[in-house]
């Protein structure tokens, strides 16, 4: 049974949420989620690229020849990534400094290429946009959640927005933040535990 546009959108939010259900695109998931803000920033940048590339790939799918489709996808994706990089430098410079090399690396994020190849190249424009947005927002939520958990445990506090923050020490005064969680091994362990939790809930 063919899915509706709404279903294509919502499948990215839970059913096929990229890092947890598809377990794809783990490089930025592990690399930038040292804080919630970084995770969300990276997620939004990726969502923009997914939206743009899905839209264009789907729009041009009858023109792009089968044999050189991957090259065409890469040109489209790389262009959107460069646009994001420039826009981020122009309007969110501190975030750009923190995310650093992970922004250009969106080009090789297998979620973006995967959606172009597996979905947008075979489906209508409207469906592809819904798919891109859904997967992108799911990715953003996952990165935000992982970043929030790591920041909370690693720093003892989490910055919600601007100056608004929640301090774990105010609830549990005896809590000792362990910086292990914001370092690389903490990312693997935290991701593993969250995967475990989500699979347990899913079943």
């Amino acid at each position: 049974m063919p899915k509706t546009i709404v279903q294509e959108f919502t499948k990215g939010l839970w059913e096929e949420v990229p890092p947890f259900k598809l377990v794809l695109g783990l490089c930025p998931v592990l690399g930038v989620t040292t804080s919630m803000e970084n995770g969300l920033g990276m997620g939004i940048a990726t969502t923009f690229v997914l939206f743009g590339s899905n839209f264009l790939v789907s729009l041009l799918r009858s023109i792009i020849p089968q044999k050189v489709r991957i090259a065409c996808f890469i040109i489209i994706i790389a262009s959107f990534v460069t646009i994001v990089e420039l826009l981020m430098q122009a309007y969110a410079y501190p975030l750009y400094l923190k995310l650093g090399v992970f922004i250009p690396l969106i080009v090789v994020n297998c979620i973006v290429l995967g959606r172009a190849e597996a979905f947008a190249y075979k489906n209508k424009v409207s469906y592809s946009i819904a798919d891109g947005l859904g997967i992108g927002i799911g990715f953003t939520m996952s990165l935000g959640a992982l970043g929030a958990v790591r920041e909370l445990l690693g720093n003892g506090s989490v910055t919600l927005w601007g100056d608004m923050s929640y301090n774990l020490l105010s609830t549990f005064p005896s809590y000792q933040p362990f910086s292990f969680m914001v370092q690389a091994p903490g990312a693997f362990i935290c991701l593993g535990l969250m995967l475990c939790l989500i699979n347990a809930v899913g079943d």
Binding site: S79, A90, L97
Partner: protein, 197 residues
Amino acid sequence: MNDMIKMVVVLTVLSSVAGGVLAAVNKGTATQIEAQQLTFVKGPAILSILDGASNNPIEDRFKIADGDAETNFFVGVFDGKANTIAFEGFGKGFAGDMGVMVGINMDDDKLVGAAVTVHSETPGLGALAKDKPDLVSQFKGLSVTDSVSVTKNGGQINAISGATITSSAVCVAVGKTMAAYQKMKPQLQQEIQKFGK
């Protein structure tokens, strides 16, 4: 054969359009990006060098074109007199260009300070050039006619251990600003008159 031509045409057109769009976005955001870099990257370096200036050095700036390149000069006013100037020089580091902001007192032609602005050096080794003052503080007080190089090359600057290439790059960048200063001093003196009144 038709297939072949179609592939070539599609790829060529797609690449050209992408190139055009990117060039437009690059051009459209260039001034905004420069302003952001001034605030977040060069700003702290400038303020650390021109510490105690009574004006805002980031606002009091002028540009001089030397050949193809345009350099921003930042003016520091001390005791009501605009006598200090800060500008950036570049050297080739271990991983790409390094920018070093250098402050020069125009009265006695001596360096008042230096600070690394942009770099892509290794964290914990070369990146210490920016993160720790040990290297850049050695430039303070040098005269613009001095030649600067690391001790390994017979100079007077103690390199960061494990990061000789980075340290040399900083020396090269500082040396370039010194040379540029000596060459452009009359011009600079003219421009600087406009500030600090």
